[in-house]
């Protein structure tokens, strides 16, 4: 049943998310930009864990590192970590209600951003910028919308959405 999502759709959505996260917005809203890649990858982990797992998350993060020009492996490590938490600690997350899913995704993203910050801090000098907390908030708020849009690409799990 779950195998109906084609790998093409999954990667297309990840690439769209990568391009979206590259777009620079005016400085007022720039801090509020959610982490699109994390939202999309976590959505696919919840919907079809047999196709999107730690490896796909890691590779998406690696692409993000290349695009952002950050140290290679940083985002890869952070996204792989987030996917791993979802895949091992929340095995039944597909059956949760949308609100519960949103909270779990928001918290996992928050922890992931901290991991990112600290790995960057260990391996180099970083600028402390607490504005990334705003992006965590907007990721939490916008995740239901993104998951609604992504659920239009396939039709099998409507009844899970609550």
């Amino acid at each position: 049943m779950q195998n109906q999502v084609s790998i093409f759709v999954i990667w297309l959505s990840i690439i769209v998310a990568l391009v979206l996260s590259l777009i620079k917005l005016p400085i007022v809203v720039d801090n509020l930009v959610p982490n699109y890649v994390v939202m999309v990858v976590l959505y696919w982990v919840i919907v079809c864990p047999n196709k999107v797992n730690v490896g796909v998350g890691w590779f998406a993060g690696l692409l993000m590192d290349f695009l952002f020009g950050s140290t290679l492996g940083l985002h890869a490590c952070a996204i792989a970590f987030m996917v791993w938490i979802i895949a091992t600690q929340f095995k039944n997350i597909a059956f949760y209600s949308l609100l519960q899913k949103t909270i779990v995704v928001g918290i996992v993203n928050f922890i992931g951003q901290f991991i990112l910050f600290w790995t960057e801090h260990i391996f180099g000098v970083v600028t402390v910028d607490y504005n990334f907390l705003w992006s965590c908030v907007s990721t939490l708020v916008l995740w239901p919308i993104v998951s609604g849009i992504l659920s239009l690409t396939h039709s099998f799990n409507r009844n899970y959405e609550g």
Partner: protein
């Protein structure tokens, strides 16, 4: 629930361990040994269309707003620019004779004559970069002769230096990044200093200056050319805070970059002639300074030797 999922039949735990080890290796190799310079050159070159797509909304809105200039506004701007050009030309008349004077004096002194540098213009690409460092992306790359470490300036002052080059884009580290430092002299009295970034976009630190140093608020700091990375004589920053704190070894001196780093659009890449960079001596110099100042390097990015 069957844990063995996907194509490889590994559990999520095993995958996480593998990817964690892989990313640790990547991070260490990239940040400490910079082994992936070539790889990221090719990958970024292939990803160039992505950057242009991401830049498209902003460049489109710029184009649209350019379209809506009225004839009157254009006329006024044209008049203003013509006035400005004639003013600058008159200044240049004096400058030319000064250059001539200077060359003659230098010949008398047997000092080498400074030649002017080749410059190419570049435009910023509105692309989000690493949130933890102050870098920007510009639309010039290896095809235009950009090299790593090339100084970037605009008409207001020094902006930063190129840290990575791809085929037709490159990334510039701004002078206010924490990993950046630049050797300067105070224009008023020629005191040498090192200005390092703080991570705040419009704030710089003048580090390790004794408390009785003759620096005042309002002093202009210009590049000294000692690091070999930046040409001599370009304005960098203006001193905004000078504080002799009791009980501290050094004075606390803050400066503001003269170029408005948060509103950049056009900039110039200054390519230094190769003979102007006596490489060996500089590297020795830098390792010496690195040993004194663990956090800053002389006009270079920390990852470079």
């Amino acid at each position: 629930m069957n844990e063995k999922i996907g194509y490889t039949g590994l559990t999520a735990n095993a995958r996480f361990v593998i990817s964690g080890i892989l990313s640790l290796i990547l991070i260490v190799c990239d940040s400490h040994f910079s082994l992936f310079k070539d790889v990221s050159f090719y990958v970024e070159s292939y990803l160039t269309p992505v950057f242009y797509i991401a830049d498209a909304p902003n460049s489109l809105s710029r184009n649209v707003s350019d379209r809506f200039y009225s004839y009157q506004e254009l006329l006024e701007e044209n008049k203003f620019l013509k006035n400005q050009i004639s003013e600058i030309r008159t200044e240049l008349l004096r400058f030319d004779s000064l250059v001539e004077d200077n060359e003659q004096l230098r010949r008398l002194n047997n000092s080498p004559i400074r030649s002017s540098y080749k410059k190419i213009g570049a435009e910023i690409m509105m692309v989000d970069t690493n949130p933890f460092s102050l870098t920007i992306m510009i639309n010039r790359g290896e095809d235009d002769g950009v090299y790593e470490g090339e100084p970037v300036i605009n008409e207001e002052g020094v902006i930063g230096q190129v840290i990575s080059v791809a085929k037709s884009t490159s990334r510039v580290l701004l002078i206010s990044d924490q990993n950046h430092a630049i050797p300067v002299v105070v224009m008023r009295n020629g005191i040498r200093a090192i200005v390092s970034g703080t991570g705040i976009i419009n704030e710089l630190n003048v580090v390790n200056m004794p408390r009785n140093v003759d620096i005042q608020v309002g002093d202009i700091l210009i590049t000294s050319g000692l690091g070999g990375k930046f040409p001599k004589g370009y304005p960098v920053a203006k001193v905004t805070v000078f504080d002799r704190k009791e009980g501290l070894q050094f004075a606390e001196i803050k400066a503001q970059p003269l170029a408005s780093l948060d509103r950049l659009r056009y900039m110039l890449l200054v390519s230094l002639p190769n003979e102007a960079l006596p490489k060996q001596s500089i590297i020795k110099d830098e390792s010496f300074i690195n040993s004194i100042l663990p956090r800053t390097t002389l006009g270079t990015n920390k990852e470079q030797p």
